[in-house]
């Protein structure tokens, strides 16, 4: 071991990178399957509306449903083209979850996943 290696900053352990990569890829994959079945449709329809006004890359869109204990979030993340100045736009619909688990979008669409329904 050379004395100089003391001055070099230690490289990030590969296991740390493994964990971070897994967390990112799995967040995507879970959002895709754990979400209610209407999530892909919702994503498509939202995209169609937005695409009428803005030129967007379909691959740079993310629709995510997060469930907290007292608050569920529907997150729509769209990366806009660079010339729009804005790098991304975020729209979030938040609504406190009711005790009965009947959380929903303002429009009244049921947000409970099939998994949730089974628990009731």
């Amino acid at each position: 071991m050379s004395i100089f290696s003391f001055f070099r900053s230690a490289p990030r352990p590969s296991a740390v990178q493994a964990k971070e990569r897994l967390q990112i890829v799995m967040a995507h994959e879970r959002a895709g399957r754990a979400g209610p079945d209407y999530l892909p449709m919702l994503q498509q329809e939202l995209l169609a509306v937005i695409a009428k006004y803005i030129d967007i890359d379909q691959n740079k869109v993310e629709v995510k449903l997060d469930r907290g204990s007292d608050c569920s979030t529907l997150e729509l993340n769209i990366e806009l083209p660079a010339r729009e100045q804005l790098k991304s736009a975020m729209a979030a619909v938040r609504k406190p979850e009711t005790k009965a688990g009947g959380d929903g979008l303002k429009a009244g669409a049921p947000l409970a996943s099939s998994e949730d329904k089974k628990r009731h």
Binding site: S14, R21, L22
Partner: protein, 276 residues
């Protein structure tokens, strides 16, 4: 013996291949039988039969699971009684057919027949998420997710958790979900300490299911499979002891986890490693 178990049908599953499902199935079934439970372990890996070899009963296979499904043999003719342990039986699979031979109705009929007689039915799943793996997990009450501390194995385990939550009988019929536990195998504490391998806690944080056990990477596993002996019977080995602990935890005992830290090395062996 013991109380009637709540989870009768257990699946050993992983998504990814070669992570230790068959090794763990053989060890676990043997461990349950050693604890006095009448146990059968079924090979669902149609076409790639291997459980018979790991259990050391390959020369006694006459009829198999598929023969029973097809009505070509009676269940009692296909079941192989272990020579070492009372209460332990193996239901081998076919080496010549393919996974399409596993019909849901056929599998259900065999499982129902076994359930009358056995305390535990352990299903050794093939890799993948195709028919064989789906049939192995479909009727399960409990799933043991076999995972290696490695990115693709962890991701595939998560995939299997998704399948259990949506495509198992319990999910389809809206029953209580299949219970799940993590069995982290081939764990190498020294590589973990060097930052080269995911820690138990990392995997637990990502998969978010309870930990059944950590089985260390161990040369005893290969030695045991060489001679057709479930590694749990090698009581001197770390892996064997770790499986015994895991069986105890499965049965509800509070057993501290072992073999998760590097073994203390003496000065001499440390010197040897340096110079190696």
């Amino acid at each position: 013996m013991g109380e009637a178990p709540l989870s009768k049908i257990i699946v050993m599953t992983s998504g990814k291949g070669g992570v230790g499902k068959t090794t763990s199935s053989a060890a676990f079934a043997t461990g349950l039988a050693l604890r006095g439970f009448k146990t059968v372990v079924i090979d669902f890996d149609v076409g790639l039969r291997n459980l018979d070899l790991v259990m050391g009963c390959e020369r006694r296979v006459v009829f198999d699971f598929i023969n029973v499904i097809n009505g070509e043999a009676k269940l009692s003719q296909a079941l192989i009684k272990d020579k070492r342990i009372d209460n332990l039986y193996v239901l081998p699979t076919s080496q010549t057919r393919d996974k399409d031979a596993l019909t849901a109705a056929g599998v259900e009929r065999v499982l129902n027949e076994l359930a009358k007689d056995f305390d535990y039915i352990l299903c050794d799943s093939p890799a993948g998420i195709e028919r064989g793996a789906l049939m192995a997990l479909y009727f399960a009450d409990h799933a043991i997710i076999v995972t290696n501390p490695e990115v693709s194995s962890v991701r595939d385990s998560d995939r299997i958790l998704g399948v259990l939550a949506s495509r198992s009988r319990r999910a389809e019929q809206g029953l209580e979900p299949v219970t799940q536990q993590l069995l982290l195998t081939r764990y190498d504490p020294e590589r973990v300490e060097r930052g080269e391998m995911l820690k138990v806690d990392d995997v637990l944080e990502i998969l978010a299911i309870p930990l059944l056990g950590v089985i260390p990477e161990s040369q005893a596993v290969l030695r045991a499979s060489n001679v057709g002996m479930p590694v749990i019977l090698d009581e001197s080995s770390n892996a064997g002891q770790a499986y015994t602990d895991a069986v105890g935890r499965f049965l509800g005992e509070d057993i501290e986890h072992r073999f998760m830290a590097p073994q203390k090395k003496g000065l001499f062996s440390r010197f040897l490693r340096r110079s190696a």
